[in-house]
């Protein structure tokens, strides 16, 4: 996999070095741009961390009550237009999420070819269009909130593969059909043979989107490996069967999403519901969603968001598990919660927005609520407040 990434980067840099920099019919052949967020967040939960991505176990909370890790990042992008039909994109991002360091990673590296006005294809590293905002979830400037609702958007992984987009014009309606195939690879999580389709229908100020994706997912940490290796080697066949079904190291997953937004200009509503189904594994079946409404009053955009998470479908080993470790692991994956968020975006300049945001998150009874780095004294089912202040910019 690593070799393939290098190959893509090499192909793009070769293409860049061979093409001449300059003007072609008045259009820039190369364009450098970027985006970033400087943001701090404060959590009132001091016995666990709110994390920027599901596989990062540190964030804000127990580690540090106030931190820039959740939202701060910078991204730089080079666009290359080789011909009218052939183009390429290279994007690098420095952020704490995923790598737990700010060392830059390549978030986009692909070439795009336009076969016709209706059909184009991309090859290389893209962002899997899992849900409505997935493809630009890092770009704070593009959003009314400090961050997209974490109940739905708690991952930041790019996909290496191929994608085709077909656009149908039907009068005032544009229908875009996006199909893709590829794989996700990261330190803890990977997805093989990831394939799916997303359909978006735009009509006036309305936008409706539906997506369905399947793949074979693998989630591995040292703790998971030790736990499941141990249980699967026990001389209790019934318990081995349960542990095998719960093992997240290989699980067939599906991701479905449905979203709607209405944005006539002075106000907007957005709602999205998703389901990530890894059952019968320990990751279970997560149904989550949010609804958000906001108004634009000059440079100010206040909004209010409600979000919800419900995790089901896991098999509790119960009395079969004499040691209790597997039961505890299943219980620890209970992320049920809901949240209320008030956000204010202030467009201070053409390319700069300041945001203030306050959320109250209520973990449901017995739920860890998706928190990580749990400390002694952590109480499941508690509520906490998350306050954020950030500056988003594009250049």
């Amino acid at each position: 996999m690593h070799q393939k990434k290098q190959w893509i980067a090499l192909a793009i840099s070769l293409a860049l070095s061979q093409a001449a920099w300059g003007q072609d019919g008045g259009e820039d052949r190369f364009k450098l741009s970027g985006f970033g967020t400087v943001g701090v967040a404060h959590s009132s939960e001091d016995k666990a961390d709110v994390t920027p991505d599901f596989q990062t176990d540190r964030g804000v909370g127990a580690t540090s009550a106030t931190s820039g890790r959740l939202d701060s990042r910078i991204g730089v992008q080079l666009n290359a237009n080789f011909t009218d039909k052939f183009s390429g994109v290279l994007q690098a991002v420095s952020e704490y999420a995923v790598t737990k360091s700010y060392s830059p990673t390549i978030s986009l590296a692909h070439v795009k070819y336009r076969f016709s006005p209706a059909f184009s294809a991309r090859l290389g590293r893209i962002t899997a269009p899992l849900y409505m905002l997935s493809e630009y979830q890092r770009v704070g400037y593009a959003m009314p909130w400090a961050r997209p609702p974490q109940e739905v958007y708690n991952y930041l992984l790019p996909m290496d593969g191929v994608e085709g987009v077909y656009n149908i014009n039907a009068g005032d309606t544009v229908i875009g059909i996006q199909g893709f195939y590829g794989r996700i690879d990261s330190e803890r999580a990977s997805v093989d043979a990831m394939r799916g389709v997303a359909v978006q229908v735009d009509h006036g100020a309305s936008s409706f989107r539906i997506s369905h994706i399947v793949g074979r997912a693998h989630y591995v940490t040292d703790n998971i490996a030790a736990l499941f290796d141990t249980y699967r080697s026990l001389p209790i066949p019934a318990l081995v069967d349960v542990a095998t079904r719960l093992d997240p190291r290989t699980m067939d997953g599906s991701f479905s999403g449905v979203g709607y937004s209405y944005d006539p200009g002075n106000w907007f509503v957005r709602a999205e519901a998703i389901q990530a189904d890894y059952s019968p594994s320990i990751s279970g079946k997560t149904t989550s969603g949010y609804a958000s409404a906001g108004m634009r009053m000059g440079n100010l955009t206040p909004s209010f968001t409600f979000a919800h998470v419900d995790v089901r479908g896991q098999e509790m080993p119960g009395a079969l598990d004499p040691f209790g470790l597997l039961n505890a692991a299943v219980a620890g994956n209970n992320a049920d919660r809901h949240s209320f968020t008030a956000a204010l975006r202030w467009d201070v300049h053409d390319s700069i927005a300041i945001k203030l945001q306050a959320s109250h998150v209520k973990n449901h009874a017995g739920s860890v609520g998706g928190l990580d780095n749990l400390q002694p004294g952590f109480v499941p089912g508690r509520g906490y407040n998350l306050l954020s202040a950030s500056v988003d910019f594009v250049f």
Binding site: T127, Y136, A142, N299
Partner: protein, 142 residues
């Protein structure tokens, strides 16, 4: 009731002022050589929001923008896409940083728009009504 000459003159002046005010608006233009005669608001907004680039004649539309901050640009996006300049910037940051699309080429003035349209019959842009001449045709009047 007899309307005095002064009142009629004032009324006439008001009408003239109103009509010249209306004509100061933004219009969507293509080259006079283009075989597209008219577009709807939705078609224009879809082209400038990169939701489609298909023209009714099957060609690929080449949208051309005016500089950020230009009054004619702000008026165009306000009337055609119902978006402010900040909203347009946020909208383009969605498309740009996913690698999906790039903002249209920008030119500096109504005159530069007309020069760019003359080069390409599929190019489409907007200028203030007063700048319309024989080189362009108005395809949509917001």
């Amino acid at each position: 009731m007899n309307i005095s000459f002064n009142k009629r003159a004032a009324l006439l002046a008001a009408l003239l002022a109103a009509s010249s005010f209306a004509q100061a608006g933004v219009v969507v233009v293509m080259s006079s050589k283009s075989d597209v005669d008219s577009l709807s608001k939705v078609q224009v907004s879809q082209i400038f929001l990169a939701k489609t680039d298909a023209l009714p004649n099957g060609r690929v539309a080449k949208p051309i923008d005016q500089a950020e901050g230009a009054a004619v640009r702000n008026e165009f996006y306000d009337k055609v896409a119902d978006k402010s300049s900040a909203q347009m910037k946020a909208y383009w940051s969605q498309l740009t940083f996913t690698g999906k699309a790039q903002p249209p080429r920008k030119v500096a003035s109504d005159a530069a728009v007309k020069a760019a349209l003359a080069e390409n019959p599929a190019a489409i842009s907007y200028i203030s009504d007063g700048a319309v001449d024989g080189s362009v045709k108005v395809v949509f009047r917001p």
